[in-house]
């Protein structure tokens, strides 16, 4: 099976190399450390259409491509670079309940060498990629705080949770930490189980290897209108341990989009089949 996949991928990349779009990020004045959809910031940037395909390498993968293209604009202000990503998705999905998944988008950069990046499919061992991953679900975390069960299932009525007593006066030394023992993911310190900052910064060295970075510097904001999402992800050009971008230089970016309403999550996503050139104009 793997062999077949590879052949498919090589075939597709030959096809794709014929229509690769280059993204140019012009220099703009304005604060990019706050994600903004304001047209004045984006007016000078040319919008490019980047083609996506159902992720073809790792199983499970989507049976068909849910998101065929993402429209991209990029701008920078000498210290930050921002991407405005829009794609069609008629159904807004923010996850929360059982069996529901969130709409999401990711932008990926090489870490070691901007000129010759690792495989576009999330990098490889000792040659990582730096990913900025926005989810509608994470945006709710940022705006409203981590969802409680009452927020997800308002009509649910549990009798009580362990160590959450009405008369706490009688019990000393009851800390949140002690209560967390009953929430396995939180007790294990899984970042997935805590409120997100709207966007995750991730390192990956191949499929299934991603790990989130603790101090997120990037910012993001998305808005959904009937036809789909527009999401801005903004990051400092230079990320201490991660990818370094330089004004006047060229590098590469990769994109991925998930449609939660189509049960897409994890490896079920639409991705760029090869790196898209990115010029950071002077």
């Amino acid at each position: 099976m793997k062999f077949l996949d590879r052949k498919l991928v090589i075939g597709l990349s030959v096809f794709y190399s014929l229509n690769v779009t280059a993204i140019v990020a012009p220099s703009v004045k304005g604060d990019l450390s706050k994600p903004s959809l304001d047209e004045t910031i984006w007016a000078t940037a040319k919008e490019e259409t980047v083609t996506l395909m159902a992720q073809p390498m790792a199983i499970p993968r989507p049976a068909e491509t849910a998101t065929a293209q993402v429209k991209v604009k990029a701008v920078h202000n000498d210290s930050w670079i921002a991407f405005r990503l829009s794609w069609e998705d008629k159904e807004k999905s923010e996850a929360g309940k059982l069996g529901e998944f969130s709409d999401a988008v990711a932008v990926q950069f090489p870490v070691k060498d901007n000129k010759s990046p690792p495989p576009v499919f999330m990098g490889m061992k000792d040659n990582p990629v730096h990913i900025f991953h926005w989810r509608a679900q994470y945006q709710i975390d940022k705006e409203k705080g981590k969802r409680e069960m009452k927020d997800i299932y308002p009509n649910m009525n549990p009798d009580m949770y362990p160590m959450e007593f009405k008369d706490e006066g009688h019990l000393t030394g009851l800390t949140d930490e002690k209560r967390e023992i009953f929430s396995h993911g939180r007790a294990a310190g899984n970042p997935q189980s805590y409120a997100k900052a709207g966007v995750d910064e991730i390192f990956a060295e191949g499929f299934g290897t991603s790990s989130v970075i603790k101090n997120v510097e990037a910012v993001a904001h998305g808005e959904w209108q009937k036809s789909g999402w527009t999401v801005v992800i903004s990051r400092p050009l230079v990320r201490e341990e991660g990818s370094h971008l330089k004004v006047g230089e060229d590098t590469f970016v990769g994109f991925a989009v998930w449609q939660g309403g189509k049960d897409e999550v994890g490896s079920r996503k639409s991705v760029t089949m090869q790196w898209t050139p990115l010029s950071i104009a002077k």
Binding site: G99, M149, S183, H184, G185, G189, Q192, S193, G266
Partner: protein, 376 residues
């Protein structure tokens, strides 16, 4: 895909990873003729492991009334439906496809994906009989109206579908006891295990946003104790121990004896191809066609052997040891009056008479001047 040996379907099959059997394999045998659906097992597990936020709906151990009960809703029918009709002639290896072999190229297994409403009725269909029992009716054998109780935990499968489907490799099978665990710090909550497990024993926690499952009570097992759902079984229908594959089966190992030697306990839905490690002594009065679908073509033989247990003191002895000790029995022995269970070091952990002594007392108790009755 690797070729692996699956003894339950008596042939090689395709699985994404190489065959790798753990040093020991966790297993439970349930005697379905004795389960009373008291749900003590479900509550024992619930109070031990799933009383936290996001676990409100979870029953890592559940007991459903077959054929109408299920948790989540119709999980088994929906998986069988996805797989489609398959052939399995008795005396032959399974001729049909497993869920791994029937999977389309973009999936690990054929599956269905339960939504939240599917999980919301854990005890649906409880005590529903296949037909009404009108006043004055009596039952004949085999029963024309029937139901039975099916208690279920994770089967800590030899070829777990949950593990095979996780793109992050956050699920692992322990070398020391074969227990299958989801790494709570690595899981990203993609829920691929929830989709892939045909028994639906991987569950998503919407509060912690990662998936969870029965942990086989590994902290107890590490101390030589049986899981909470086994220790607390009111009907004494369960025994947990370690199973060997048939080519290494030991006559004195309680699980090997019931599954391989005596062959009265069978895995459920073995045709799915996971080599699940929970085994059932099938209910003797339920519909045979239904039982063949659930336990495979050998179920009739298992029932015939079970019916003859009266003549078999050794198996009788082993069955009376069930529920007799919290400790894991690694071996057992039965003489003509008593059954004994031993731990890993060979020390006796339990003994039980094959037949409880019968004491007859006169109806009138002269000492207290009252008539005795039979209320225990």
């Amino acid at each position: 895909m690797a070729k692996v040996k699956n003894w339950q379907i008596n042939r090689e099959m395709e699985y994404p990873y190489e065959e790798h059997r753990p040093k020991k394999q966790w297993a439970i045998v349930f005697d379905l003729n004795k389960c009373i659906a008291c749900q003590t097992c479900s509550i024992a597990c619930k109070t031990t492991w799933t009383s936290g936020k996001g676990q409100e709906y979870m029953f890592w151990n559940n007991v459903e009334t077959k054929p109408y009960g299920s948790y989540p809703l119709a999980y088994d029918l929906r998986v069988l439906e996805q797989l489609g009709a398959q052939e399995w002639e008795k005396q032959k290896p399974y001729q049909g496809k497993t869920i791994f072999e029937a999977a389309p190229p973009n999936e690990r297994v054929v599956h269905f994906h339960p939504k939240d409403e599917d999980w919301m009725y854990p005890n649906i269909g409880e005590d529903d009989c296949t037909k009404n029992v009108p006043a004055g009716d009596h039952l004949e054998l085999p029963h024309d109206k029937w139901f039975f109780y099916l208690p279920r935990t994770c089967a800590h499968c030899t070829y777990p579908a949950c593990l095979s489907a996780c793109p992050r490799k956050a699920i692992y099978k322990r070398e020391e006891d074969g227990i299958v665990l989801i790494d709570q710090s690595r899981c990203k909550g993609y829920g691929e295990c929830v989709r892939a497990c045909p028994y639906k024993k991987s569950m998503y926690n919407p509060y912690t946003r990662v998936s969870e499952k029965c942990v086989g009570c590994y902290p107890a097992v590490e101390q030589g104790k049986q899981p909470m759902c086994v220790q607390n079984c009111i009907g004494k229908i369960r025994v947990m121990g370690f199973i060997n594959p048939p080519w290494k089966a030991r006559e004195d190992n309680p699980i090997d004896y019931l599954v391989h030697k005596k062959q009265i306990a069978l895995p459920y839905y073995p045709q799915l191809g996971l080599e699940p490690n929970i085994y059932y002594v099938p209910p003797i009065h339920a519909d045979r066609k239904y039982l063949r679908q659930m336990f495979g073509p050998h179920v009739d033989d298992a029932i015939e052997r079970y019916k003859k247990l009266k003549e078999d003191t050794k198996t009788q002895g082993l069955l009376v040891l069930m529920g007799g000790t919290d400790k894991i029995m690694h071996s057992f022995k039965v003489n003509d009056r008593t059954a004994f269970g031993y731990d890993e070091k060979g020390e006796e952990v339990v003994s039980s008479p094959l037949v409880e002594p019968l004491i007859e007392r006169p109806a009138f108790d002269t000492k207290v001047g009252a008539i005795r009755n039979n209320t225990p």
